[in-house]
Amino acid sequence: MTESVLQVKELKLGISNGKHKIPIVNGVSFNLNKGETLGIVGESGCGKSLTSLALMGLLPPGIEWQDGDIKITEQSMKGVSHRVWRSVRGQKVAMIFQEPMSSLNPVFTIGNQIVEMIQSHNKMPKEEAKQHAIHMLKTLGIPRAEAVFNEYPHQLSGGMRQRVMIAMALSCNPDILIADEPTTALDVTIQAQILELMKDLQQKMDMSIILITHDLGVVAEMCDRVIVMYAGEIVEQSTVVELFDNPKHPYTKGLLASLPKIEERKEYLSSIKGVVPTAGNMPGGCRFAPRCTARHEKCDVKPVLRNYNDQSMVQCWLYSDN
């Protein structure tokens, strides 16, 4: 059996409004295996970024962990101290963000920012940390790494900054890398380079990746398995091949239908009608029902996420016997 590095069980994250708890992420469960790339896709506001921040213990102010558990390399993170979180961040789970332009501190050198991270997790002399940082920069294919070490973020291009971010994130050899829309802000050609690098490093370092994106092209390129999130819930979870060949949930079908295909000539791309309901105003039954083209009477009752076959799970009455 494959080794699991991360288990998320019935995770509920949300805001509290006096007595009422309003979940934004509503009971999300998934596993991440060693060396695997798991994609999380969904519209903005579906809870994918919030879920990933919870994995770092970095929920924004006002958002609380309401229920469920997160196990990182077998360790339950529920209610652990700041100190424990600090030892997890960077060392077990590292994260890169969407905007390489604003993700690095403008007033410190690249070297300073990487060395700081290395030294916070490993007791080593500054010179050794520096050598390790330069080695990481070289690993990420950054030319003139020694010079870049002493440069400031504004002196580098967007693609280079994202490489620096990855070099920094990987500098403490994490088990899991969370990449939140890592290539969205980059040129298409640079995107491909960065994705290729990530794949390459993943194999070398035997690392698991959680890739958060709304770009299904990137998913097809990178992922082994995919989670589709809608309005704070997982509506479908399957292997990447199964997802593209045989999408089940009407929402997933809608997402795939909205992709332009090279062999088709269409005047308009198809889109999913309506908007995502807001956190306080979720429908009682299936959350996608108001926008669903396959809606029927059963949809007023909440469906559960269940196995469809050995490759996929879906949360929809269309695929349920009872």
């Binding site: 770092m56 030892s87 961040r89 963000f97 993700s103 501190n105 916070s120």
Partner: protein, 310 residues
């Protein structure tokens, strides 16, 4: 690059000094004739008045008087006091040290209070601590400094007798005036530090720093504070003028032998050369401080290169 920038700034400084000198030159002459008060209560003869007026050079047309003042300025000769006959340069030189010491003391007090209050207010946003910090700022902003000075004298010098009330004979004498000056400034400054910190704490790079697993205080004091320092530094530079203005009043309250009191006394005596010299000197100090502040930007933020525009 830097050199041409400094040259530009010196040119700028000369302009400022010319404008200030014009304003002070004419406005002090609106206060009345110095000769009239120099004779005190007596009834001088017209002859005596004319003689004294000529001695002081006040019989010359205004543009000639101004020309002489500017010519003196170029050779660092600000003339002599009408009253004492002591060269104005000497008077200023005697008074510079106490005023600078007071301004510096006030600034230190302001920073010592404003930085912690502002930072804690920001990271404990909307809590009791933040509320307390904001009330403190508001009090600092609303209190008139002379009133605060008098209250401090009343409490610490008169009632408790811990500190001297006035004069300048050592470090102990610096404490009350510095606190008076610093408290007032710290109110505005704490508010600015708070809002700058709040803005910076929302930046993406702060989340990056947190995700690295470094301690919370390193995130706040290194990553956030350094970035919040830029708007704060600009403000400190600008506030230096207010600080010097504040010393004028504080020096009066604490009988502090500084330039502010020198100028006030000179105004009361219509001692034109002293007023002109003192005000132009303070203007020059302001210009120099602002130049230093501008140059320090590039030390705080590597994206800013002095002279390349901001």
């Amino acid at each position: 690059m830097l050199l041409s920038y400094i040259v530009k700034r010196i040119f700028h400084a000369i302009l400022v000094v010319i404008v200030i000198s014009l304003i002070v030159f004419f406005s002090i002459r609106l206060t009345g004739d110095p000769v009239a008060i120099m004779f005190g209560a007596g009834e001088p003869s017209q002859e005596a008045i004319d003689q004294l007026t000529a001695e002081l050079g006040l019989d010359q047309p205004l543009h000639i008087q101004y020309g002489l003042f500017m010519k003196g300025l170029l050779t660092f000769d600000l003339g002599e006091s009408f009253r004492s006959g002591i060269p104005v340069m000497t008077l200023i030189a005697e008074r510079v040290w106490p005023t600078m010491l007071l301004a510096f003391g006030g600034m230190v007090v302001a920073l010592l209070i404003a930085f912690p209050v502002g930072i804690i207010s920001a990271i404990k946003r909307d809590t009791f601590l933040d509320f307390g910090g904001r009330v403190f700022s508001l009090i600092g902003i609303s209190f008139p400094n002379f009133w605060l000075g008098i209250m401090l004298i009343l409490i610490f010098a008169v009632n408790l007798q811990w500190l001297p009330a006035s004069g300048f004979e050592g470090f102990k004498y610096l404490i009350l005036p510095s606190i008076t000056l610093g408290l007032i400034l710290s109110g505005v400054l704490a508010r600015l530090v708070r809002s700058s910190m709040l803005e910076v704490l929302n930046q993406q790079y702060i989340r990056t720093a947190e995700s690295k697993g470094i301690s919370k205080w390193v995130v706040i004091l290194k990553h956030a504070f350094r970035n919040a320092l830029l708007p704060t530094t600009t403000f400190i530079g600008l506030q230096f003028g207010a600080l010097l203005g504040g010393t004028v009043i504080i020096e009066q309250v604490f009988a502090w032998p500084g330039i502010g009191r020198l100028i006030i006394d000179a105004i009361n005596q219509r001692d034109y050369p002293v007023v002109q010299g003192g005000v132009v000197f303070l203007a020059l100090v302001m210009v120099v401080v602002n130049l230093i502040v501008d140059l320090s930007y590039s030390l705080i933020d590597p994206r800013i290169k002095a002279g390349k525009g901001k």
